[in-house]
């Protein structure tokens, strides 16, 4: 798309873009101070601000917000449900195909390749793998305790960092314990919380300066990544995504 065809003739002030970005709160403090001083002295920018404020007010009125009609919502949900049911979880589908009588050797080989666990080429895959591996080996917890006074000191000398450990029992996420695990060869402290019959692993490792992968769902486990100070965090669990988000917000709100 080109911006070329529209003449800018009615806004000849060269500062107009800064004035506009100032209104949107998109300038740094220093630039904002400069823009404010400019507006105070520029009649043209003052007229621009007046119209922009009117436009903004009109576009943010409740009358301007349009809501998706209930019938449309229902239709979309139905389409999504049928879309989801023709594409069942990969493992279930493949096991079904394997147990079928007429699977050719080539198809079986193809399926066998798909069934291999994904290579932990990405951090996202590595964290999910570590979580699943610990679950299946029955060793998610090396120190069992619902007290942060026990769990936090336990990591000293075992992990190369001291992870924040808090008790969220009152909010429905009791502290269960901790372990030391490896993510792509790097030692990570894992603080384990419970939620109903589910478990949430909070991986914490020293920031390596790399961008974190996308939060999302892999192999049925939801993963949320974030950074805080010089630590990287990943929460992994099979709880519902909104419950995991609630947990993540609790952890992020903890001072430390």
């Amino acid at each position: 798309m080109s911006d070329a065809p529209v003449p800018n003739a009615d806004s000849p002030c060269p500062e107009i873009e800064l004035t506009s970005a100032f209104l949107d709160g998109e300038l740094t403090e220093a630039d904002a101070a400069g823009a404010e001083a400019h507006i105070a002295a520029c009649a043209e920018c003052q007229a621009f601000v007046a119209v922009a404020a009117d436009v903004s007010e009109a576009m943010r009125r409740p009358s301007a917000r349009l809501k998706a009609p209930p019938l449309l919502r229902a239709r979309i949900r139905r389409r999504l449900d049928s879309e989801a049911s023709v594409r069942p979880a990969r493992a279930g589908f493949l096991w079904g195909a394997l147990s079928g009588a007429g699977v050719s050797a080539a198809a079986a080989a193809f399926i066998a390749v798909l069934m291999l666990p994904p290579a932990p080429e990405s951090l996202a895959g590595a964290v999910t793998d570590a979580h699943i591996h610990a679950l299946s080996a029955g060793r998610t917890i090396e120190v069992v305790s619902s007290s942060h006074h026990t769990v936090k000191p336990w990591f000293a000398g075992r992990a190369p960092l001291s992870p924040p450990v808090a008790e969220f029992a009152a909010q429905g996420f009791p502290l269960v314990g901790g372990r030391v695990d490896r993510v792509l060869g790097q030692k990570a402290a894992v603080v384990v919380y419970g939620h109903g019959k589910h478990e949430i692993d909070l991986f914490v490792w020293a920031d390596r300066g790399a961008a974190l992968p996308a939060s999302g769902v892999r192999l049925g486990y939801h993963t949320v990544f974030w950074k805080n100070a010089d630590l990287d965090f990943a929460a992994v669990s099979d709880v519902a995504p909104d419950e995991l988000s609630q947990f993540v917000r609790l952890v992020q709100a903890e001072p430390e």
Binding site: M1, S11, T19, D24, F48, V51, P213, S215, A240, P241
Partner: protein
Amino acid sequence: MDSRRASFEALALPHMDSAYSLARWLSRSPTDADDIVQEAMLRAFRAFDGVRVETVKPWLLAIVRNCFRDHAVRAGRTQPIDDDHVRTLAFDGPDPESEAAWASERRRLDEILARLPPDFREVLILREMEEMSYREIAEAIGAPVGTVMSRLARARGLLKEHWNE
């Protein structure tokens, strides 16, 4: 409900009103908006794996915007916003009296916004109606932040001519 469907429900469907509002203001037509949102939601669901939780909204609105453009091209309108296609934006309001007032406010706004070239309209809608940051808008329209900044300034500059008519 499978886990992908469940996470789509929890993360993407809360933005359905935003998706619809954008489709409606861009297309200026209730029936087109229905088609666009339905198509966009299905496309989004198929591509949902690995989307960052904090960027779901700009990601989804980018799909809505692309569906709108595809829809406009299919309908043989390369300039989807033109005066031949002005339609009313009547909609269900809280009661008949304010509904009438709201409908007339929306119509006036629609007529003024319709004078903006589509590239400028969409950034203004994303900024003022969806209250998105420049970075989120940049993500939604697939352009640099600097482009968002200059288009918004020019959109507002153009509106200056028509606003008090």
